[in-house]
């Protein structure tokens, strides 16, 4: 080999080998082109499209950050994918998480502590968020997530069916009233087949637990407390469980329901749904829809649901900064007012709920106001929901009660034991 070639080769080798040093130095200064970050989002229909619109607006408003939103399926999908992504070292920069899933990742050190960013924000930044909605962004006192698309459980009522049964066109206010009305709404034909019932009780894998929580809280009870003490064998939970079971098997005024089809097919007069599905419900129903609080009993109190938005630790300082900027924008007044107006998810801050356009919209469309009003009666979800198998155990409990018709006390004892075991498996 000629000596000259050797010199070139050596020079190239030196340049090649030392490039990491250059890269290192570069990452301290702000990168020149726009920083690209990836946002994993969930939800379909209007809730999905409006998120994409927020992303579009963010990208249009500045040229130093570009957000790429990727739809990842339902919340359960995102949980799976995040787990896989953590294992593969391939995490997004921002992720929308179902609120009970956040602790799973916070516990394993996957999420960025947002406190370091919050302290550099102007005073009152964090206080603007509605406390009931901000509460479950914390894990062991550290803030890991901000409220993003929050929802509360609602009762959707078919006003026409109620009127046809001689009932007032409004939702029942308590479970007792619902049961009373149920007698008028239940129709059994000559063959003994159930043609129409009052309400469909949700048995879906990821949703059953939520509405059950809402019902237990109405009775003044709890599913679990913050220290993972289980309260399913306390009087309120037992009472509620017995009521559901009696409505299904004695009164035949309730049926287990896995989707909203029964409501749209007018098989049931009422169904549970989230504030987030309001848009979809209205678009598919060909009758008068009345959205309402979940029935109370001793009180009105519902679990908050929906999603929080968080930042996985990707290790890239500038990408994390970009992610924080996006987080602020997404949970900021303008975006939240827009999202709330379009989807029925709740505005997550005082400023957002006072946004003039939003206020005007609620005045013109009073049914959407239900979401806002219920903000006065919220609490974080039960702690056991954050366990991997938590929601599945609760869903099975609901199935045992209203499909298998098993003895209420035994079912609650079994569920308590299962939840305790799951807790011990994880902590």
């Amino acid at each position: 080999m000629k000596k000259r070639n050797l010199v070139w080769i050596l020079l190239l080798a030196v340049l090649f080998l030392s490039s990491p040093l250059f890269a290192q130095a570069k990452s301290e200064a702000k990168p020149e082109g726009p920083i690209k970050i990836v946002y994993w989002r969930s939800l379909t229909g209007v809730a999905g499209e409006s998120q994409d619109e927020v992303v579009r607006r963010f990208n249009a408003s500045r040229n130093d950050i570009i957000v790429e939103a990727e739809f990842q399926g339902a919340y359960a999908e995102i949980l799976q994918k995040m787990t896989a992504a953590v294992a593969a070292g391939d995490m997004p920069d921002v992720v929308l998480l179902d609120s009970p899933h956040m602790p799973i990742f916070a516990k394993n050190g996957v999420l960025v502590d947002l406190g370091q960013y919050v302290k550099d924000e102007p005073k009152g930044f964090i206080d603007d968020y509605i406390p009931g909605l901000l509460a479950d962004g914390y894990y062991h006192g550290t803030l890991y997530a901000l409220p993003a698309m929050r929802s509360t459980p609602l009762l959707y009522v078919n006003g026409d069916m109620l009127a046809a049964a001689g009932l007032p066109r409004r939702a029942p206010e308590t479970w007792d009233e619902l049961r009373e009305w149920g007698k008028k709404l239940t129709k059994i034909n000559a063959k003994g087949e159930l043609e129409q019932s009052a309400i469909g009780l949700t048995t879906g894998l990821t949703t059953a637990h939520w509405y059950f929580q809402g019902a237990v809280y109405a009775f003044g009870g709890l599913v679990s407390d913050e220290d993972f003490g289980i309260h399913l064998t306390d009087a309120p939970a037992l009472e509620l469980a017995q009521l559901w079971q009696d409505m299904v098997f004695k009164d035949r005024s309730a049926i287990p329901s896995n989707s909203h089809d029964d409501f749209f097919n007018k098989k049931v007069a009422m169904v549970f749904g989230s504030t987030g599905s309001m848009g979809n419900v209205y678009s598919r129903a060909d009758f008068q829809v009345i959205p309402a609080f979940l029935p109370g009993q001793k009180q009105n109190l519902v679990p908050v649901g929906g999603a929080v938005i968080a930042m996985p630790k990707t290790g890239d300082t500038w990408k994390q900064w970009a992610a924080w900027e996006f987080l602020k924008y997404f949970t900021g007044t303008e975006s939240q007012a827009y999202l709330a107006r379009l989807t029925g998810y709740m505005p997550n801050s005082y400023s957002a709920s006072k946004d003039p356009e939003l206020v005007a919209y609620y005045d013109a469309n009073p049914q959407w106001k239900v979401a806002i009003d219920q903000l006065n009666y919220v609490r974080p979800q039960a702690s056991v929901i954050s366990l991997p198998k938590g929601t599945a155990i609760l869903q099975q409990m609901v199935e045992k009660l209203i499909i298998a018709n098993r003895d209420v006390k035994t079912v609650m004892e079994e569920t308590t034991a299962d939840l305790k075991k799951e807790y011990n498996d994880n902590y």
Binding site: E70, F71, A87, A88, D261, F264
Partner: protein, 284 residues
């Protein structure tokens, strides 16, 4: 050859034949009706869907059920992913099978029979044992959400190797020895001498493997977490979870998207496919 027995066309024979046809028609309907039902439901409007007794054919055909169903998820992307993974998978698997089959049939090697037994042993192993370990391996390799992650774990070939080997062995070894004397490399022998022997079954093998990969559900479900990497079966399953915005008519339309390619392939090749499967069973 089917049994050919000469019988007179007596009345009892005619009754027998009629009953035979009746039974067959009943079962053919039993198998075919679900497909028909899927199609009519996909063409109905929501009101027509939720009726009993059912409406057998909609008054007005709602073609926009298809566009609505298409819009619920990135089906275009799912199609591309399915095609890419199925086609690369088939090409790889058949190539690997051909190479292995040739080695076992035509190359003299002291430990050949031992390795053949090892390969046969692999045939007995159920794939489910490998789900978690393969997932862990892939995540270490950073192959989650990649085409290679979907394809590679499933392109080893035992059945294909076995099948091709049968065909390669159908000529006396003197033919291969003659090729060797002529100075042909093993690779050339494979391409020009051995493979043509398998021509009758090659096309069917390719189709069979292709359909299997197209329909694969569990593994792509595990290995893809991004919507844009999903294959059709997985994407379809996700559509079912779409929040309450779609009805049965859209779900059936989506099912049609997924079934149409496979049914088309099937109807053009079914005679050959059925022949091949029947023949394979006889050889045992």
């Amino acid at each position: 050859m089917a049994r050919i027995v000469f019988r007179k066309k007596t009345p009892s024979w005619i009754i027998g034949r009629t009953l035979t046809h009746l039974v067959l028609i009943i079962f053919t309907l039993a198998v075919g009706l679900p497909f028909f039902w899927m199609i009519t439901t996909a063409l109905k409007s929501p009101a027509e869907v939720a009726t009993f007794p059912p409406i057998w054919w909609p008054k007005t055909i709602k073609w926009d059920n298809f566009s609505k169903a298409w819009a619920t998820a990135p089906f275009g992307r799912f199609y591309i992913n399915s095609f890419v993974t199925a086609i690369t998978g088939v090409l790889l698997e058949v190539s690997i099978a051909a190479l292995s089959a040739y080695a076992f049939a035509c190359i003299r090697f002291k430990y050949r029979d031992f390795f053949f037994l090892v390969m046969l042993a692999a045939l007995m192993i159920p794939s489910q044992i490998a789900l978690i370990p393969n997932y862990v391996i892939l995540s270490k390799l950073k192959w989650i959400n990649t085409y290679k992650g979907i394809v590679i774990p499933y392109v080893s070939s035992v059945f294909g190797t076995f099948l091709l080997r049968q065909y390669f062995l159908s000529v006396p070894s003197s033919l291969y020895e003659a090729a060797e004397i002529d100075g042909l490399s093993h690779f050339k022998t494979l391409i020009y001498i051995a493979l043509p022997l398998a021509k009758p079954v090659l096309g069917t093998l390719v189709l069979y493997i292709f359909i299997g990969k197209w329909n694969n559900y569990l593994w792509p479900l595990i290995v893809t977490t991004k919507q844009r990497m999903r294959t059709l079966p997985v994407g379809l399953a996700m559509v079912r979870d779409a929040e309450y915005a779609i009805g049965p008519e859209h779900l059936m339309a989506a099912a049609i998207f997924v079934l149409v390619p496979v049914l088309i392939v099937y109807f053009f090749s079914q005679r050959k496919l059925i022949e091949a499967i029947a023949a394979g069973a006889v050889k045992g």
